[in-house]
């Protein structure tokens, strides 16, 4: 029986204090476990301010939890303080941030990040070895070093840049990626490229991914398990498909009901048939029937 990859035991965190002793509870009593040897996409869903990002920072060991313990391969993150330990931890757990344009310095060529990561985490000495590592990682995300060598962030599209960010995170050979809203800043046509990439990383490279988002549709598409958070607490957890198809908690139900369907609202049958045949239900007149059905309060 091997140790779990990541185990959260009753994690809590509150901010504030100060003169009036007003404290905000960002995260309260969150527990979950990711197993070793069973890579999965684990989605954390919630409204803004529900503590998703605070949780991500604690898993990345960037913020210490106020209560509870986070164990990575059986070791409490609070005991990782020496530089060598921290480096070993960072090698196994890597972040992907929301906005790739903010994550990269606009005045720095993006390939430099790849070389620096290769140098720090794989011990690659010299430009040739670092370029080989960078190229290998870029191939995993469907890019090549030839495409991005010497490019600045503004010369790449959001999707490309986010894939470079993921390639950078893959160079140390991590077991876990923590992706905080990785596709919310990316265009619709490129979003699925990144989402499919996560799926491939899980299936082919065996990387577990903590996918933090408020987009339920992509969460349904790629995740295996899901937790739904509201005001810092987990209100529902379980298999992604089951939770999203049949939510139980009132908040999950509200969330599910608020997702706008990309399919046009169903009209009556005749209208739908007409649309199927390529004939708009109403004659072509924006000021005509379709609008008369609305308010007559025209100024």
């Amino acid at each position: 029986m091997s140790l779990p990859l990541l185990e959260l035991r009753g994690i809590g965190k509150s901010y504030g204090g100060g003169w009036l002793r007003h404290r905000t509870r960002a995260v309260h009593d969150v527990s979950f476990t990711l197993e070793t040897g069973r890579p999965e996409v684990f989605a954390i869903i919630g409204e803004s301010g529900s503590g998703k990002s605070t949780l991500a920072r604690m898993i990345l060991n960037a913020t210490a939890p106020g209560e509870g313990q986070i164990l990575f391969r059986g070791r409490d993150l609070a005991t990782i303080r020496r530089a060598a330990d921290r480096r070993a931890f960072m090698q196994a757990v890597q972040p992907v941030f929301q906005n790739p344009f903010e994550a990269f310095n606009p005045l720095k060529r993006v390939d430099r990040y790849l070389y620096a990561t290769a140098h720090h985490f794989t011990g690659a000495q010299g430009r040739v070895a670092q370029e080989a590592k960078a190229d290998e990682a870029l191939h995993k995300v469907g890019l090549s070093l030839a495409e991005i060598r010497g490019r600045f962030p503004h010369e790449l599209s959001g999707g490309q840049l986010q894939r470079v960010a993921i390639a950078r995170a893959l160079i140390p050979g991590p077991a876990l990626l923590v992706a905080d809203e990785p596709v919310s800043m990316i265009d619709a046509s490129l979003r699925m490229t990144v989402v499919n990439l996560f799926r491939r990383l899980r299936d082919e490279l065996g990387v577990s991914i903590i996918y933090i988002t408020h987009d339920l549709a992509t969460a349904y598409y790629i995740s295996d398990r899901i937790i739904i958070m509201q005001r810092g607490e987990v209100v529902e957890a379980g298999d992604a498909r089951r939770v999203l198809m049949a939510p139980q908690h009132p908040y999950s139900i509200l969330l599910r009901a608020s997702v706008l369907s990309a399919d046009p609202p169903e009209a009556d049958a005749a209208e739908a048939d007409a649309a199927e045949a390529g004939v708009p239900a109403q004659p072509w007149s924006p000021a005509g029937a379709s609008l008369a059905a609305r308010s007559g309060d025209v100024p």
Binding site: Y221, S258, L260, A262, A275, L291
Partner: protein, 347 residues
């Protein structure tokens, strides 16, 4: 009428709408920069023609850097060099006959702004002055357009806030004291308090989570229906378009590539870009694999010749590489710019 006869019918020109509020004709706006004698042009808006009727919500979708924001800035005449209008016209008709917004003198423009033409901006955080109370923002934006004495004005503002489910006391709050959803509702209230005939909304819900997004959209729709305004709604989120807009235009690399009533556009997208966009939308309960679009969005400084979509297009033919397809009405009310689709529908 059957599908067959529809397709055999020759494409007809767009019928003149009964007095559209906004008509944009062959609008071109380029970012023109000169460095040491070298001129560089970025063709952000390249030959766009569209009309928006009264009491209509018109949506514009497209990826970032497709020129959506440049287009609406140009329409609102909120542009500054290096973005310049090169060609074409933007005419508004607020009941006094069509007037080209670029031919108005500054006084006439100031009289139209906010009174008839208002703007819901994207980042509510950046619109509201962080060091002044909300009341001050209302005075700043709307007071001089309403021509009302101060107590009546404030009463009007409070009544309007109530319509958006905001209590009068938000007027005394600072922006940081309000939640994101409340701030966004305040910006909607700011943009609608003068009951304008035309509202431009630029990604008003992108920063909000799904629950708040839905309530904000319901409010925009409610206010629009109540006042009978026209709305130009820009977002890249197709689900929002599906639920809000009446007609939808798809932009790609500075050009409009398809335009149709939202429902028929989503049911039967014609342009290959739109087809991909609609097919790749993830849906809850749908386990089919979705593919991303290959290739990268074109640079607007050096757009590909011919149809700008051809390097990524699965239907690309020889003609697409040399000749830009014109925007034609291939089905009633459904305009498309694509050589392949035209051939497909003609045969």
């Amino acid at each position: 009428m059957t599908e067959e006869t529809m397709m055999l019918a020759p494409p007809r020109p767009t019928p003149a709408l009964p007095a559209p509020v906004l008509s944009v004709e062959k609008l071109r706006a380029y970012y023109q920069m000169r460095f040491f004698g070298v001129t560089r042009e970025v063709r952000a808006v390249d030959g766009i023609t569209l009309q928006i009727g009264r009491n209509e919500i018109y949506g514009i979708a497209g990826e970032s850097s497709s020129g959506k924001s440049s287009l609406i800035k140009t329409i609102a005449r909120a542009i500054r060099p290096p973005l310049n209008v090169v060609d074409g016209s933007v005419r508004f008709d607020f009941g006094e006959g069509p007037a080209d917004i670029y031919k108005l003198d500054p006084h006439a423009l100031a009289a139209i702004r906010w009174r008839h033409l208002s703007y819901i901006m994207q980042g509510s955080m950046n619109v509201l002055n962080p060091v002044r109370r909300i009341r001050h923002s209302f005075l700043d934006f709307a007071f001089r357009h309403m021509h009302l004495p101060m107590p009546v004005f404030l009463q009007r503002v409070e009544g309007h806030l109530a319509r958006l489910n905001l209590e009068p006391r938000v007027l005394n709050a600072y922006p940081h004291e309000l939640s994101g959803g409340m701030r966004q509702r305040v910006t909607i209230a700011l943009a609608t308090v003068c009951r304008p005939a035309f509202i431009i909304a630029d990604e008003p819900t992108t920063a909000l989570d799904v629950v708040v997004q839905k309530s904000v959209l319901t409010m925009i729709r409610g206010i629009q229906q109540e006042m009978g305004s026209s709305v130009l709604f820009v977002t890249h989120d197709m689900a929002v378009h599906a639920n809000l807009t009446d007609r939808l235009g798809i932009m790609y690399a500075g050009r409009l590539v398809e335009e149709a009533p939202t429902r028929s556009l989503l049911r039967r997208p014609l342009h290959p870009y739109t087809r991909h966009l609609v097919a790749s939308l993830p849906r809850i309960g749908d386990d089919a694999p979705k593919a991303g679009l290959n290739g990268t969005p074109p640079s607007l400084a050096k757009p590909p010749p011919g149809c700008r979509f051809h390097p990524r297009c699965p239907l690309a033919m020889d003609i697409c590489r040399t000749e830009a397809p014109p925007m034609e009405e291939l089905l009633p009310g459904h305009r498309v710019a694509c050589h392949a689709v035209r051939q497909e529908l003609a045969s």
